[in-house]
């Protein structure tokens, strides 16, 4: 599924500003952005890509069990990520590394997850309200909707004060739109008029299955069937990603009900380090999307505004440092304690789990003291 007349876009693939009637209402959001903010967009996209490439390398070298690359999806994530306000809550799937970085998450925690040291990795309340990754596809969209129902019930949205009103954003992919949970989340969101943005990254592939197998209709059109306004954007254009998300979030936090954005983007890498995209897609398709690369496009735009080599060199060096730092700290990660198996299965004591924890401790101790096996 590629761009059509309906796809909202502010930056052309060559990085020039597109002026169309359809996007006129989005331009003001971009015009308010300062040069510093625009530079920040580029900086985070570049850092995320360097992180992602480094993580892929670490996986290939056996330092992680699996890696879920975000390569190619940086603009969709960075634009929407910067559109949020500090009080907003984010319910990601498992590929939204750039959003986590924007919200202050130390990326080493994402590595900890995929290295097999934890099932979570961070506490949302201490990390910009960026909730943990969810592996069961679409489950998080219901959590987001429930959270947003809580926001509304508690009177924390719809006052008209954007500094106060909270909004919730949930990320999901084209594959998960076939899941019952995503559809139920849309039903509940519409029913309770939640302050919530459904942000769909349509990266064209659910592992090896193309989006055409998931849907006979452009996915953003489904939103209308739920009674939720939806738009389709060029997900490789960071400016429309920002503007459309900002607009939707401001409308929903003010009490306008849920919103839906389908960002057309492309998963340049595999689904995870465990699959081989050459088995199911063509070089031509990959080359087509490579030409639409979100970072190259935005760099061209910034250069057209007068940004020079000095800035891009500086960002390049910073991204390289970021990746080096991740590599160094990944190699220094230590084993979690054995007690992690048992602790926090429940909030309150559970006798069976406590008994098994004691048993394992005794069993391990017996080996250490040489008693076992005699």
């Amino acid at each position: 599924m590629s761009y059509t007349e309906a796809t909202l876009q502010l930056l052309s693939p060559t990085g020039s500003l597109v002026e169309r009637d359809a996007t006129a209402e989005y331009l003001p959001f971009v015009e308010k952005l300062t040069d510093a903010q625009l530079r920040e967009f580029h900086r985070v996209m570049a850092i995320t890509r360097a992180f992602d490439v480094e993580a892929t390398n670490l996986q290939r070298q056996g330092e992680m069990g699996i890696w879920v690359p975000s390569l190619g999806q940086e603009a969709a994530q960075v634009g929407s990520g910067f559109a949020m306000r500090p009080q907003d809550h984010i319910f990601p799937a498992y590929r939204e590394h750039a959003v986590g970085i924007i919200r202050g998450l130390d990326a080493i925690n994402i590595v900890r997850l995929f290295r097999g040291l934890t099932h979570g990795g961070w506490n949302p309340t201490e990390n910009g309200n960026f909730h943990i990754y969810t592996m069961v596809l679409g489950s998080q969209t219901l959590h987001a909707t429930g959270y947003a129902m809580g926001v509304a019930l508690d009177g924390k949205s719809g006052t008209g004060d954007p500094e106060f009103d909270e909004a919730v954003i949930t990320y999901f992919g084209d594959g998960s739109t076939s899941q019952g949970d995503v559809n139920e989340a849309l039903v509940f969101a519409a029913s309770y008029q939640t302050p919530e943005l459904f942000f769909l990254q349509n990266n064209q592939w659910a592992i090896s299955v193309p989006v055409s197998k998931q849907s006979r209709t452009p996915l953003y059109l489904r939103a209308g069937g739920f009674g939720i306004p939806g738009v389709q954007i060029d997900g490789n254009d960071v400016l429309i990603s920002y503007a459309a998300s900002r607009k939707a979030l401001e409308e929903t936090r003010a009490g306008g009900g849920p919103r839906f954005i389908e960002a057309l983007t492309y998963r340049m890498g595999p689904h995870t380090s465990s699959d081989d995209p050459t088995k199911y897609r063509t070089d031509g398709e990959t080359a087509h999307w490579a030409a639409l690369d979100p970072i190259a496009r935005f760099e061209a735009y910034l250069r057209s505004r007068g940004e020079g080599d000095a800035f891009f060199d500086e960002v390049g060096a910073e991204a390289a440092d970021f990746a080096d730092n991740i590599r160094r700290r990944t190699l220094a990660l230590t084993m979690p304690p054995v007690s992690d198996i048992f602790d926090n299965v429940y909030s309150e004591q559970h006798p069976l789990v406590a008994e098994e924890k004691r048993w394992l401790a005794g069993y391990e101790a017996a080996y250490v003291s040489g008693e076992a096996g005699e």
Partner: protein, 327 residues
Amino acid sequence: MSALESLPMAKALNAGLRKALQDDPTVLLMGEDIGPLGGVFRVTEGLQAEFGDKRVMDTPLAESGIVGTAIGLAMYGYRPVCEIQFDGFVFPAFDQITTQLAKLTNRLEGGISMPVVIRVPYGGHIGGPEHHQESPEAYFAHTAGLRVVSPSTPHDAYWMIQDSIASNDPVIFLEPKSRYWPKGDVDLSERGRTLHSTAVAREGTEVTVLGHGAMVSVLLQAADLAAEEGTSLEVLDLRSLSPIDYGPILESVRKTGRLVVAQEAPGFVSVGSEIAATVAERAFYSLEAPVLRVSGFDTPFPPAKLETLYLPDADRVLEAVDRALAY
């Protein structure tokens, strides 16, 4: 001073939910038809009128949606109590219950609690169609992170629903629907025992019979019949299926030397199987006979006209008691 009131279990649950709603503003009820109708079993009757539609919410007809949004509400700080309409309709929510609700505290390394109660009317004896009479407790008891309880009396229903709502862990609250209507004394001032404890429902000396939910009344009936023939049965009410309070079970078995575990659920890989195995491990030298199970058969729950042959009754319990005594 005790305040005794004679109530059917459905009314006792209603009173317990009302008390929870009064005591804690973060408690919310959500489910299908629980508002003006009061639920298909009328357990929530009058609660929406009293507390408003923001605290007693009729939801869209989607069980995964109910539990999934309850998880989000719990993340926000609410204590949702979900009603699943019938046992057989819990399965659309099974994914959210087992992969999300049960595991989020662990996944967040203790950084969050999941105080969500899932009320599920379960079990047979009501002549219902397919999916309306099942006993799915083993699926939930098998899942780490969940607590699973089932009251057998109106008194326990009143207190156990409140204690489940107060729990910081998710609780699968199984309501024996055939016991919704018989009345029993409810002591509104004194809970008597904690949520996760096994109770001695009737003292005896020769054979211990154990069950939960609606089976407890069958066991008491069996004990009456056995007494007429001069056999003394001790009846245990399990109450909590996860965790299981083994203290009173082992104490009873050490006294009687014989244990019969009864349940409506199929016996294969069941809560009764788990208890039989554990008692064999921990009270081996006290046992005069193998632990015997009386269960529903390992078939789909049959059409309603056959249910009395499927569900263990007092005669089937006593048949097992006789076998145990024959060792």
